[in-house]
């Protein structure tokens, strides 16, 4: 059996670090596409939203007036792909006059807890995020 085959497949921790606002550049959308692809590889995936990246999760996005696809509903699908850890940095929210209530209410169903619906977004401090980043095997930035 090859090392990459199932049974001898050490799960690695991947974190996607999102630092850009949506729509003004293509970074946010491109990162989300790669996150969805990563779900196919059965790894421990988490997302971090820092700096202007927190705007990606702003609720009530309406792109009718700018002729671009509103990709924010796609974040709601992440739970179905077992991507259930979305870390949002508290300091970045505060600097922008935002709170958790301004973000989409993203949830997932916990298969280990009788499919109870739980929030995917966890607000963490800058220091806590530093620790989380330090734990990762791979960081993917956008």
């Amino acid at each position: 059996m090859e090392a990459w085959e199932e049974g001898d497949n050490p799960m690695k921790k991947f974190m996607f670090v999102n630092r850009k606002a949506p729509y003004g550049t293509v970074y946010a959308l491109e990162s989300l596409e790669v996150v969805l692809i990563s779900a196919a590889f059965d790894q421990d995936v988490s997302l971090a939203f820092v700096d202007d990246g927190v705007y990606q999760l702003k609720k009530d996005q309406n792109t009718d007036g700018i002729g671009m696809k509103n990709f924010s509903p796609t974040y709601r699908a992440l739970g179905d792909y077992d991507i259930t850890k979305l870390f949002v940095e508290q300091e970045s929210l505060t600097e922008r006059g935002l709170t958790l209530d301004d973000l989409m209410a993203l949830t997932y169903e916990d298969e280990d807890d009788d499919w109870a619906e739980k929030p995917s977004i966890q607000v963490v401090t800058r220091a806590e995020l530093a620790d989380l980043m330090d734990e990762q095997h791979v960081l993917i930035s956008s």
């Binding site: 850009k20 606002a21 949506p22 729509y23 003004g24 550049t25 700096d51 202007d52 705007y55 702003k58 609720k59 009530d60 996005q61 309406n62 792109t63 009718d64 007036g65 700018i66 671009m68 509103n70 924010s72 600097e95 922008r96 006059g97 301004d102």
Partner: protein, 102 residues
Amino acid sequence: MSMLHIVNKSPFERGTLDSCLKTSKDGCAVLLIEDGVVGAIKNSNFADQLASAMPAKQVYVLEPDLNARGFTKDDIIDGIKTVDYSGFVDLTTENDNVQSWV
């Protein structure tokens, strides 16, 4: 000479809004578009700087870009006016010159 200044980058990401506010003269118009619209939001770290530039400078924000990012008129600093695309065109024709802080 009346001047329209256009800022299209987030003030958290680039220094262009700061440069614009420091370099522009009283009586000018400042229009926030694209990611620049987040500079218009209440209670952010840049809100005081932008609020203190008014009313000497009239600040506008492009509403379709504001809505795309999940914000409405209710979320912006008092005194900032929203414009649509035709209002954007009007601003460019009403002013003698345009400076884009790209």
